[in-house]
Symmetry: C2
């Protein structure tokens, strides 16, 4: 993962805390927005605010990358984009398959944000024979019967599951048996995988939850007291331990 061209020891990335890894995409998102506006440098405070992280933590995180910025100037936006991309493994090409080509699978296939991050949609797979051969986002959908061959032929290690909940575990098992070692799960179910396989479950409501927190606060400030209230029927009978 490191070469002579990298300005850090080859083993450095193994020592990055998991929580830092989880924040790197947030920094990258904020930096990409700055890059799109042609902003050349950014202070740790500005970048921390844009990423929703405190600035001391950001500086600590970046120290794992060997990136310390320049006092009075800040961080070079383009170089930091490159450093984080490299650390995350995004400067290489990752073929991914998407299984389950309903609305969500089709939306993911059409999603421009994957390609710009080094993810190439190598194949679209669906269990419905009527879908086979149909083009979605310019790629002909293939039938689930072909799954193992597709994984093998394309050297795919990352699979995206966008099937209904009931089909997800079986699809997951087949992906893993075929050699996939990372699963991104959009299906609303918890998947079991063997040791050595990473699963991440996407919850599309997470950002909405953060917005709700701010809405609640705004409503509370406007009324100068209790904010908008819903029924209390959701409160569980269980009390604190």
């Amino acid at each position: 993962m490191a070469t002579g061209r990298n300005h850090r020891p080859a083993t450095r990335s193994r020592g990055i805390p998991e929580a830092t890894v989880a924040r790197l995409p947030l920094y990258l998102r904020a930096l990409t927005a700055l890059s799109e506006r042609s902003v050349p440098t950014v202070s740790s405070e500005e970048l921390a605010a844009a990423a929703g992280v405190n600035s001391a933590k950001l500086r600590k995180d970046f120290s794992y990358l060997g990136s310390y910025g320049t006092r009075g100037v800040g961080y070079d936006v383009e170089y930091l984009v490159y450093q984080i991309s490299r650390e995350l493994g995004l400067t290489q090409d990752w073929p991914v398959v998407i299984v389950g080509i309903g609305n969500l699978g089709a939306a993911l296939a059409n999603y421009g944000g994957f390609a710009s991050r080094g993810f190439r949609v190598a194949a679209l797979i669906d269990a419905d024979p009527a879908m086979a051969g149909k083009p979605v986002a310019g790629i002909a959908v293939q039938h689930t019967d072909e799954l193992e061959k597709i994984i093998s032929d394309n050297g795919v290690s990352i699979g995206v599951i966008a099937t209904p909940a009931g089909a997800a575990q079986q699809v997951c098992d087949r992906l893993v048996a075929a050699g996939v070692t990372s699963i991104l799960n959009f299906a609303p179910t918890v998947l079991s995988v063997p040791e050595g396989v990473d699963v991440r479950k996407v919850d599309l409501s997470i950002e909405l939850q953060i917005l709700a927190f701010h809405e609640q606060r705004k409503a509370g400030e406007e009324s100068g007291g209790p904010g908008r209230k819903g029924p209390d029927g959701d409160m569980p009978a269980v009390m604190p331990a």
Copy 2:
């Protein structure tokens, strides 16, 4: 925002750091998974690992909620789900509108994870007259001409934009003018909003980026040296500041 029924001062939540707010949905996701498996209690270490956060930070975060767990027992899963949901404002009903009913908008309309978090899809809006009246996820799509009336009639404060990039800013401006104060943006563009309006941009590739980091590491471990490499053409010419 707080009532006499809440076991904390009304002003408490205003003092929660933004970074803690951003982690609350991650805890909630992990806790919900435990709750679905009927796990009654969880240690800070287990929950921190499930949420991808370090356990000292988790305990600090929970202290803002007034939740300290019980030594040797841990945290009560159901109560913590309730506490975090309340803090985020999810125990009330949030009507949301989704604008742009292509594949992504339709997928979001069908997404079960919103309803279970207190978000009710109040209306689906699309600019295509041919879509008007068509049912998606059991809701008849309405034309963009109706946008202001829909927002007003339903008391909507949260709007979800799933339009193409080119239409997003105009839709955003109309939502804000009609009274929406929080925008969840799935369109691949940066939106400008006036002071007091919150925008969050969803990047569906974030979880994939975290998987790529681990894949890169696994590949490096297997080969006992550099991992899978792609072309270095992505490296920017800019060097560190």
